[in-house]
Structures are given as C-alpha cells and as structure tokens.
C-alpha cells in the first residue's frame, strides 16, 4: 500500500458550538493510534524539505520515525535536541507556512501534520511524567542574566544552564512566560503547559526574579557591577499601537495587550473569583486581522458577547493571521467585516463607548509591503453600535529598558540592533533577540534567536568577546 493513501489525520477538537463559550483548549490532541497513523505518512526523505522550513532546523523525519515505530521516548528526546518548548511550538507555530509548507507529501496530498505530531510527543511526555532532566555540564562559575521571560529568554536560559553557567531570568511581571502567559489565551495554549516548562527550567537550576523591571529597578550596567558576566535582552515588543482616531479613550476601548493581559495573566475571565475586572461587551468589534485580533475576538466570544465582528481595512487575502485561527474564529461565529476602516468612536455622556464609525475601503495600487493599498471610498461612512472595541493593529518597541540603556544602539523604529547570526548588540557583553530586535514575529523565531545568542554567549563566556 502506498503511503500517500493514508489521509492526513484530523485532530479531535471541541465542537464550535460548545467551545465558543468556554476557555478550555480547542484541539484535543492525537491519540497514540492517530499519531502513529499520521507518522506513517512520512516517507523519510533523504533531503527533507520540512527541516529547511523550520527556523530552528528540527530533525523532523527523525522524530516522526520514532513515533511511527512506537518509540515515543526516543521521539521526544530527538525533538528536544533542537526545540526546548515543543508543547508550545506544536500548538502555536505557523506550520502551514514553515515546515509543512515544504513537506514533499504536500505537493500532491496534504502535508504530514508535523505540528500535531510535535505536540503529541510533548503532551505524551508530560502526561506520562516521563520528563527527564538532562545532564548538566560542570559549573563554569560564570553568571548570565536574562531580561524578559518570553520564548527568547526561556530558550537562552535553558541552553546556558545546561552548559554549566548560572542563569537568572528577570521578569517585569509577577510571573514568567512573556506573551505565552499574558497574550496567547488559555484555549490555544493552556497555561499548565507553560508552567510545566518553567518548572522544568527551575529544576535545572534557572532562577526567576519576577517583579523586576530592568531599566527601573536595576540597569544593565548595575547587573554587570553585581557580577553578571553576560546579559541577554529579550523584552519583547510590548508597546500597543492605537488608531489615533477620535473617541479612542472612551471606556470600553482596549488595546489588545490590555484586553488579553486582563483576561489571560490576571484571569479576569474568572471574575469575581479573580479580582481583575474586564468589560464584557455584548456587541464587540475587534480592529485588525492578525493572530492577536483573532485571540481577542475569540476571547470576547467566550466572555459572552452576542456579536463579535472583526473589522479590517484590507481584504481576506491580506489577513496576517494563521489560516487555522481565522477558520476557528469563523466557526465560532465571529464575523469578518473586510475593507472597512474605523474613523472614530462614539460614546455617551458618561464616557462609555456606544458605537464606531467606519468608512468603506477598496484596494488600490500596491504599497511598499507589496500589498494593494486600501483607499477610502468617498461618502461611504456608516456607523455600527458596539460596547467593546479591541484595537489589535500591531505593536511597537517599548522604550522602557532601551531608553535607559545608552549603550544599546537602536534602529529608527526603536528596536535593538543585534547581529543576526549571534544576537550581539553594540554593548559589550550584551546580546538581544526576539521581538525587541525583529518587531513582533513568532514564538519559534524568538526561540531561534535565543538559540543563536546562547551559542555565541557560551563562546564568549569560554573564550571572550
């Protein structure tokens, strides 16, 4: 029987009608049988395209082979050689544009479900309690400070602790995890998974110092004076963009960062068991069309909205969100209002949001990004009622740390300039990576940057700058 004849295995998931009102994870994961069946679709290419598509070059056929042969422990070990957070990546990586886009099976059939297999192994390991602590190298006596505990920072911490260095991670919030904690919702990435990863790093000896706003409580220079030998800066993007239209400060208009932080980090979705409040809109609009917008819209639906509408000024083709997220959102009853642009928010005398005024758009000539530029159609203004609006139109570079660290050279948009291959900044002993270098990108790219920086930092700690 030709291998291609096994179709791509679907992952069981919660029905849309049910999940749109709860915060439990949407996909339920493969069973061992489904995983083995899916793994059997991989033809073990000599020169695997998928591996080239992966930003961290995971030995994909290698771990898939182990699944097919029922050696799950060997599979997870193979996976973890290159990816420290497989349970996270298997869930949030845009596989359709990375590994799976390059899969040879995908030429004629649907590609091997690499992400789902990755997730399967990580979940199998966690649920069977099989997580093993690898052997650490002998202590080097060198101290590394990591600023920011998102995927970039966690990767550097995990790599360098294994190489025998002492690692302390400084985090501004009261809990580590970065966007994985405060941005990506529970129904897409259960926090229990993240906590297991953090716990694993702690068991390896990584120290986490939360409530530590570097740049305010302590500067990079002071950390060196305290005895740190090398520092990695991974503070994320973390500056919300607003539209700059009238009425944006009405109550009920949130940045996506605020909305998601209230819900995810502060657990406002469990109010009043948790104290942090959140506006529960009946008619919600979300402005923007990336993953952040999808997460916001789906959160609003789960918080009991009657209608949730995504308003985007371009067309469906330009929507930056992952296809799977758009699909999930639509299944849950979220409406897309494409080619519309908000021009102002309307409110009542108490300062509460009551509606939004939009103008219709059409696509004109391509702009710098190669996408056709949306232009307003004259006299096409209209109003739509809403009591909650979430602005998810991207992020900028938060200047809190960079602004207080003159040694770091920034680009025009305020991001840290770092060598792409090593993450070295213009400040001696300081590396940087993740969103604060590239602008908002992806979890796996942040991890890749962490991996490269860790290699370079280790070299420096052993050999010098």
């Amino acid at each position: 029987m030709a291998k291609e004849s096994v179709p791509r295995q679907k992952m069981p998931e919660q029905a849309a009608s049910e999940r749109r009102r709860n915060f439990k994870e949407v996909p339920l994961g493969y069973t061992p049988e489904l995983a083995k069946l899916e793994a059997s679709r991989c033809i073990q290419c000599k020169v695997p395209g998928c591996r080239k598509g992966c930003p961290v070059g995971i030995d994909i056929p290698g771990f898939i082979k182990q699944i097919a042969e029922n050696n799950f422990a060997a599979g997870i070990a193979k996976l973890k050689e290159t990816n420290a957070l497989p349970a996270v990546c298997g869930r949030v990586c845009p596989q359709e544009s990375q590994c799976e886009a390059q899969c040879i099976i995908g030429k004629k059939d649907e590609p091997v479900a690499i992400g789902r297999l990755e997730r399967f192994l990580a979940d199998w390991e966690r649920s069977t309690g099989a997580v093993k602590l690898p052997q650490k190298a002998a202590p080097t006596g060198r101290r590394v400070g990591v600023v920011g505990s998102g995927p970039a920072g966690l990767t550097v911490a995990g790599d360098l602790i294994l190489l025998g260095h002492e690692v302390t991670v400084f985090e501004a919030f009261h809990k580590p995890g970065g966007v994985l904690l405060y941005g990506i919702p529970e129904f897409r990435l259960p926090k229990e998974i993240l906590f297991a990863e953090i716990n694993y790093l702690e068991r390896l000896g990584v120290k986490f110092e939360c409530n530590t706003v570097v740049g305010k409580l302590v500067s990079l220079e002071e950390l060196f004076a305290e005895g740190y030998d090398a520092l990695f800066v991974a503070v994320g993007a973390g500056l919300p963009n607003f539209l700059g239209v009238p009425g944006e400060n009405l109550i009920g208009v949130y940045s996506a960062n605020e909305y998601l932080t209230r819900s995810n980090l502060m657990k406002a979705y469990l109010f009043p068991e948790y104290d942090t409040p959140i506006v529960r809109g009946k008619n919600v609009v979300v402005v923007g069309a990336g993953n952040v917008a999808m997460d916001s819209a789906r959160t609003a639906m789960r918080l009991g909205a009657d209608t949730v509408t995504i308003v985007y000024r371009r067309s469906r083709e330009e929507m930056p969100a992952r296809a799977e997220e758009i699909h999930h959102a639509e299944e849950e009853g979220i409406e897309l209002k494409l080619l519309n642009n908000p021009v102002r928010f309307l409110g009542n005398e108490k300062g509460w949001l009551t509606g939004m005024e939009c103008v219709r758009m059409e696509l004109g000539e391509p702009d710098d990004s190669g996408r056709r530029r949306p232009v307003a159609i004259p006299d096409s203004k209209f109003q739509m009622p809403c009591d909650l609006a979430v602005i998810a139109v991207g992020a900028g570079a938060n200047p809190l740390l960079t602004g207080s660290t003159p040694g770091l050279t920034l680009n025009k948009r305020g991001y840290i300039i770092a060598e792409p291959e090593t993450g070295k900044t213009t400040m001696r002993g300081v590396w940087a990576g993740g969103d604060i270098v590239t602008g908002m990108a992806t979890v796996i790219e942040a991890m890749g940057a962490g991996r490269r920086a860790a290699t370079s930092m280790h070299k420096y700690l052993s050999l010098g700058w």
Binding site: V213, L217, P240, E248, S255, E273, D275
Partner: protein, 282 residues
C-alpha cells in the same frame, strides 16, 4: 525576598492605612513621585500606589492608601509580619524637583501622602515651600505634622471647618497667590480638587504640576490602560507620568475613566465583605 509588612498604622479613623514594607531593592532606587504596582494575593488585582516614603538604609518603602476597594480592604486586614505577594517598582518618572523659588504644594485627602515627599524634596532643594492640606473634616486629615515639618509654612483647611480654615484648598491657594509671588504649584488629590487648582492657577499664569492616579495594569507602558489626554495628545500615565503639566490635562476624561469599573469594584467588595463575615462567624 518577601515584601513583609514591618509597620502598620491606621490614619483618618481607619479609612487610611500606612504600611512600612520591606523592599530593599525598590527602596534603593525610589524617588519622590514614583509608584509601585502591587498584588496582594494570588487572585488579586494589580494596583498602582504612589510611594509616600522610602528609606534606602533601612530597605523599606512606605505606602499610604485609602481603603476604597477590595485590594485595599485586603491590605488593611494584613498585619505586621504578613507579606504582600508582589510589588514591582519603582515605576513612573520621578517628580521634577528643582530650585524655582516659591512652591505651593496643595494636597487633598490621601493625595497628601504622595505630596509629602515631593514637598520635602522641594524644601531640601532650597525652595520656599508652602503646604496647603485639605480634607473633608478633621478626622479625615492625614500627615499634618509631617507636612508641617516638610514645608516652611503649612496651612490646613477642612470642608466643614472642624480644623483650620473652613473651606477649600483653592481658597487658601488664592490667598497665597494674592499675597506673594509663587513660581510653581503642585496639586495632588482627588480629580475635582486638582481640576479646581489648575483652573485657578491657569488664571494666574502659574505653572502647575499634578500627579495622575489612572487605572493601570502593567505599569510599564505595555497596555495603554492608563492613557490620559494631555495637551490633546494621548499619554500613558505609568511611563510618561504620573506627573503632568496640570494645565494641559483633560480631567473630565480622567474622571470618567476612573469610574469605568465602578460596578465591578462594588461587586468585588460586597463579595469580600461576605467572605470576611463568614470567616468571622467561623
């Protein structure tokens, strides 16, 4: 390092509480006008509190808060020896302290707690400092002795005349402005008070600084929850402030935004009272 409560003192008939808290790293860096973000327990909210004092030698910070919602009620129920789960800081820009000549510091309610270190710093910087402290009534007046010591002249007023001048801080401020040349006014207190102070000083053309107590989530410029309109521009109170040029602030918008979660706060508070009552009954 736990943030242990070392001292607790009730002020203003127990409506206001002063806590001295162990936080050596924050104390080493804190400057007048800066705040901390605090979370009392695992289910708690993050709230900003401007520091009333800090002592780098002893490694302590002092917080003075009015018991207004669930978080502050929980804090009030904590005793010496208890620890607050999370405190992050020092955040925000420090108050701009310089030698300008004569400075009038007008404080209302718990705003006086925030105003106190700023007043002291202006005096230490060689300014003639005149303090005006107001409250609804004598019982609610706080820190009058500390303000007396931190200034060259200290005036007291109460809305009901139970202590000091019978009337508003703005009345006293007007007296001072007509009496002598004033170079700077600092007004910290409830929004209507700050608004009234700014209306008066604008007429007199005297620069006025205020400290805005916007609602916050992270306190590091990441969420925009604390946005305020200053000079027709949106600014984030947590990183661009909390101190702003009072003549440019849209106080009406601030008032409305501060009231945004009133029903939630009430619900939380009612539940908390219920829980406390249950516990008391055993």
């Amino acid at each position: 390092m736990p943030y242990t409560i070392l001292k607790k003192r009730e002020l203003a008939q127990g409506t206001v509480v002063e806590n001295v808290i162990q936080a050596p790293r924050i104390a080493a860096k804190a400057k007048p006008g800066q705040f901390v973000m605090l979370r009392a327990n695992e289910t708690g909210e993050r709230i900003p509190l401007t520091m009333a004092d800090s002592d780098p030698e002893k490694g302590t910070i002092t917080l003075i808060y009015q018991v207004v919602g669930k978080t502050t009620a929980m804090l009030k129920n904590m005793e010496v020896g208890d620890s607050i789960l999370d405190i992050a800081g020092p955040l925000g820009k420090p108050a701009h302290i310089g030698k300008v000549g004569t400075v009038v510091c007008v404080g209302g309610g718990t705003g006086i707690a925030v105003l106190h270190p700023i007043t002291r710093a202006f005096k230490q910087a060689g300014n003639k400092t005149i303090a005006i402290c107001g409250a609804r009534c004598e019982d609610l007046l706080i820190l009058e002795d500390a303000m007396e010591a931190a200034s060259n002249e200290c005036m007291i007023c109460t809305d009901d005349g139970s202590c000091g001048y019978h009337g508003f801080g703005t009345d006293l401020l007007l007296q001072v402005l007509t009496r002598e040349t004033v170079n700077l006014v600092v007004g910290i207190g409830p929004v209507p008070m700050m608004k009234a102070v700014c209306r008066l000083t604008r007429e007199h053309g005297i620069k006025t600084l205020v400290s805005l107590n916007a609602i916050m989530v992270d306190g590091t410029g990441m969420c925009g929850c604390c946005r305020v309109t200053v000079g027709n521009q949106t600014r984030f109170a947590c990183v661009d402030g909390p101190e702003f040029d009072g003549h440019l602030v849209d106080f009406d918008e601030l008032s409305k935004r501060l009231a945004g979660y009133m029903t939630h706060e009430k619900e939380s508070m009612e539940r908390y009272k219920g829980e406390c009552a249950c516990k008391a009954q055993g």
